[in-house]
Amino acid sequence: MCLGVPARVVEVDEQAALRAGTVDFGGVRRQVCLACVPDAAAGDWVIVHAGIAIVRLDADGAAERLALLDSITTGPLVPGRPPDPTPGTEA
């Protein structure tokens, strides 16, 4: 039920009374409501759930974290030692 699907914003319909736009789900295009992502523009990535975008994804931050995750998981592995395994984030 909380299934959210990443999609790229193709176009924002500036005329719509309820902010909306076209997004691309890996080749499939669809009109979705963008009212909850007031800062999302064409080219941005969002998560779509039940016909509305619920967040604009942090694309740059995600790429950085993935690189950090890779650098850490390919580093030396010390069995039995639990130390911080991957980068945490402020919570």
């Binding site: 789900f25 942090d58 995600a62 974290r65």
Partner: protein, 367 residues
């Protein structure tokens, strides 16, 4: 596809699994709260390849599954009214209520329609002004903003024949009930990433403070889940109990303020019964008093409390006390084509996850 493929990468997953194995020295019991996460874990087989001391317990995070029989019966009764159209997500149609489901009501001539979004239900109401269109709203805080937007739009466009029957539920009271149970075995939680995307982290920080368990906000792909499990196990091994956000590409500490504002404009926390957990204070979202003209509960009498099928052990499954494959009905009396309970129907139900992953019934006796 971006934001999907890189988090399904088998090489990354294997490296993370190695790390988890390396840091695990003792048994730990961790609950993944969200049914979407359960499905990824079971479909990808992560639950079977984790080091043996780690036990994953499946949580109540399937809104369809926790909707009690009487609420489904209320929707069935509405759909049986001559002037009423009931719209809902596809998952809701086959969930057994008090002896019947919405699909059965439709077969008997009731007007029941599947929608992808509450905004589609609003469109039906706008196109068919002579009918009363009721959106049977199911879902967590992730989904409630969409329902709220449909109501705000209904009012703005003057669509007065659009009503909502709210079965929306809030996650934190359920976590309180599960962690506060005297027999709880849970030592850590993977928190639902899309609920937190809307609501932010405050409510989960409060869970950490009250129960002294690690809570790790986690995404939905295999790499996300392995990263969440690793972070949770690392905390447990080190004796820490902290809130960690391991899904920051989607979850900000404050959540999504625009979505929260929309949700709060229409809904307020109310007591609501959860299948398996009973009535939870603040466990649901009800329409605020100034939305009564769009509230199906205010217009129609709800069905009286109804019992579930006595053979179904959904209450035990939803509280992490019984694994689906240990239910005596799993795969025999209960299959997706003739389900005894909601967890076998819903795309996020734990029993359906086990069934679709080809798991067979365990011979262990069930309680």
């Amino acid at each position: 596809m971006r934001f999907v493929d890189e988090y399904r990468d088998p090489h990354r997953a294997r490296l993370l699994l190695e790390r988890i194995t390396a840091v695990t020295s003792r048994p730990w019991t961790i609950m993944e709260v969200c049914g979407g996460q359960t499905h990824t874990l079971v479909r990808s087989g992560i639950d079977e390849v984790l080091p043996a001391p780690i036990e994953l317990v499946h949580g109540p995070g399937c809104p369809v599954c926790v909707t009690p029989a009487e609420v489904i019966e209320t929707a069935c009764r509405l759909a049986g009214e001559r002037e009423v159209t009931v719209c809902s997500f596809g998952d809701m149609l086959r969930v057994p209520g008090a002896g019947r489901d919405l699909l059965g009501v439709r077969a008997a001539g009731g007007d029941v329609r599947v929608v992808y979004s509450p905004l589609d239900a609003l469109a039906v109401a706008e196109q068919e002004p002579h009918r009363t269109v009721v959106f049977f709203a199911v879902g967590f805080e992730t989904t409630a903003p969409a329902t709220a937007l449909s109501l705000l739009e209904a009012r703005r466009r003057g669509v007065r024949n659009y009503l909502v029957l709210s079965a929306h539920v809030r996650v934190p009271p359920a976590l309180e009930a599960i962690l506060g149970a005297p027999d709880t075995r849970l030592q850590g939680l993977l928190a639902p990433g899309h609920v937190c995307t809307v609501q932010g982290l405050d409510e989960y920080r409060a869970v950490v403070e009250r129960h002294r368990v690690p809570v790790v906000v986690t995404g939905f792909e295999p790499v996300d889940l392995l990263e969440g499990i690793l972070a949770c196990v690392a905390q447990l091994e080190e004796g820490r109990a902290e809130l960690e956000n391991r899904y920051p590409r989607s979850v900000r500490p404050e959540g999504n303020p625009a979505a929260r504002a929309v949700l709060d404009a229409v809904f307020e926390p109310v007591s609501r019964a959860w299948r398996g957990l009973g009535v939870l204070p603040g466990g649901g979202l009800g329409l605020r008093a100034d939305w009564r003209d769009h509230d199906a509960e205010a217009r129609y009498t709800p069905a009286p409390p109804a019992a579930d099928d006595g053979r179904c052990r959904a209450a035990l499954v939803l509280t992490g006390r019984l694994r689906p494959d240990a239910c005596p009905e799993f795969g025999t009396g209960c299959r997706p084509e003739h389900p005894l309970g909601a967890p076998m129907v819903s795309t996020e139900g734990a029993c359906a996850a086990y069934w679709h992953a080809g798991r067979t019934r365990r011979l262990a006796a069930a309680p």
